[in-house]
């Protein structure tokens, strides 16, 4: 079994058959002008470090360049990417005279979220103001970068010997956007112990209750689970157990698991039926999780230092090389 991952002109080859891999490499060499870069170390700006315990993914150089671009080389580091209990609105503060740098920095930060789920929420907030950034928003962006100064080698860790079962968490921040009163969807999915997929996104319509917001988040997570199960099936590892989708809202879980049609949930029927169907088909299960252990919390709000540290470790974010 050999897999070929193509990204325009960059190719990753992996698989369990070493002989076949070399054969494929020779074939590609004879067909195209190829440059064999040997073992995977640098792919699309991601640095891949191979260790005995597993693979380690970070964007150290990218972070260094970003800090330089922001002109914050000598700034002091902070422990969290965002201040707690601050709501950023779109019309607060003086408009920036030249939004170019703001857009450039936020664009770079969005690319950085590939290996840094811990700044996902902060970047999500900052990117809402790309259209007309103001000074207060710029201060928020500078804080994210100062957070990066403190942890430039942090990245995702994929351990060896982990199982190939999916686990997922979903959460929502009801009316999290103060400008539109829309809620924020957040979910994250683990493959064994490795975090492979997450999302932090403003929902596209206003929810009337937190249950409804939570429910839409579950719906979004459910779609991703269905796709990922298909993808992993294609890789030759058919999922055996239903995927647990942890939520901390009991009423949302009840709506999905209980086929009673309630008047207050009449308007969310499409999402409702989708999750119900997935539930009855055995694609997902809906266990309840205590809010303290809700990992998707990291994508719905700015956290305190201890909580941020705790959730970062739960997301399998490690600093290279001290902790390995």
């Amino acid at each position: 079994m050999v897999f070929l991952l193509v990204y325009v002109d960059d190719i990753i080859i992996t698989g369990n058959d070493i002989g076949l891999i070399t054969k494929l490499q020779h074939m590609l060499h004879s067909t195209f002008q190829m440059k064999d870069l040997g073992h995977l170390t640098y792919f699309l700006g991601l640095e891949v470090h191979s260790r005995d315990h597993g693979l380690f993914l970070n964007q150290h150089k990218y972070i260094q360049d970003l800090i330089e671009l922001a002109g914050l080389k000598d700034a002091t580091a902070v422990d969290t990417p965002m201040e707690v209990n601050v709501k950023y609105r779109k019309d607060e503060g003086e408009p920036l005279p030249d939004p170019f740098l703001y857009r450039q920095l936020v664009g770079s930060l969005i690319y950085l979220t590939i290996t840094r789920p811990d700044i996902s929420y902060a970047v999500h907030i900052a990117s809402k103001f790309m259209q007309a950034p103001r000074h207060l928003h710029f201060i928020a962006v500078r804080r994210i970068i100062r957070y990066l100064i403190g942890s430039p080698t942090r990245g995702l860790f994929f351990p060896t010997q982990s199982t190939l079962n999916l686990t997922s968490y979903s959460d929502a921040d009801w009316a999290g956007c103060p400008d539109t009163m829309k809620s924020i969807t957040s979910w994250c999915i683990f493959l064994g112990d490795a975090l492979i997929s997450w999302k932090c996104k403003k929902q596209d319509c206003v929810s009337k209750s937190s249950t409804e917001a939570e429910y839409r988040a579950m719906f979004a997570a459910c779609s991703e689970i269905v796709w990922l199960r298909g993808l992993i099936f294609e890789f030759g590892f058919p999922p055996t157990d239903p995927t647990p989708l942890h939520g901390d809202n009991t009423s949302a879980i009840q709506i999905a698991a209980n086929p009673v049609y309630h008047e207050r949930t009449k308007h969310i029927d499409v999402d409702c039926h989708y999750i119900r169907e997935a539930f009855t088909r055995g694609v997902i299960t809906l266990p309840h999780v205590n809010t303290d252990l809700q990992i998707a919390d990291a994508f719905t709000k700015a956290l305190t230092r201890q909580r941020h540290k705790f959730l970062s470790s739960k997301l399998m974010l490690l600093d290279l090389p001290a902790s390995i």
């Binding site: 991952l5 990204y7 440059k35 995977l40 597993g54 500078r142 060896t160 493959l191 997929s197 993808l231």
Partner: protein, 335 residues
Amino acid sequence: MSPYFHLFGHAPNYSNLHIFGCTCFVRLPADERNKLTAQSVKCAFLGYAGTQKRFLCYDPHARQTRVSRNVIFFENQPFFHTQQTSTLPSLSVLPHFPESPTPVQRFKPGYVYHRRTPTSDPSTGLTEVPSHLPAASNPVLPTSYDPPPLLKSSRPHKPPERYGFSTPVAMSTTLSSISIPTCYKQAKEHECWQQAMEAELQALEANHTWDIISCPPHVKPIGSKWVYTVKLKSDGSLDRYKARLVALGNKQEYGFDYEETFAPVAKMTTVRTILAIAASKAWPLHQMDVKNTFLHGDLKEEIYMKLPPGMSTTASDEVCKLRRSLYGLKQAPRA
């Protein structure tokens, strides 16, 4: 094993030792400073006072050594530059230090700072009203009454550096020290660019990118242009001059000249999933890279391009019929 170790059972502590000759800042004694003067003075570190637990530093401005406990060290900054240290044997005259300002320069008399007035729209602002009032009440006054010029600081205005506005400018200056031509006319004057263009044309011909034919009557060939870049090495020094021929794809029409435009990319989640599976199964990971990606694709559509500027022609109606994809074509990423 040192005698010290024998005696005390642990290695001596060297953390109090500092680099000889490094820059340091000695806090001035209380009688030499007040609230408005500098609190410390830049000195060169000489050593340790023999009888006291203090540092010995040389203050070139006051031409004296200072003995103090309150010293901040900048160990990576030598006080004397290396060229000056080579002339150290003839250290009869110490270098002059222009950067230490005398108090007289810093507090110029008659230098007044003003609060900036908010720049509001004069037609709606209140500032307009008083200038009208005297004219209406007292017609004897000349109507073109000039207000006294506002006192404004002559200090050049600079945006705050902490937002990093100055950084992109600084980056572009290193590149702009080498002038990059924008068109063929400018480039052909310089030999380095001519060589770069010749190399590119040879590569394209070796790849059999086009056939030169006489132009069919019904087609309108698209243009092409040269794009010039200077490739820098990672340390910022010049690597090579590069010229790339691009087709002007903006003249292509959808449905006629091209249909699909996309590049195959993998979703980042897929990349992470593959890496996670490979890690968990301890599979080997290899990486490959295609050179000149865009030039590999074979074109399905018939595209005619004018001869690139700088290519010699014999007949005036000759055009290039493209066989392979070229940078700038709408369908180039698909191939």
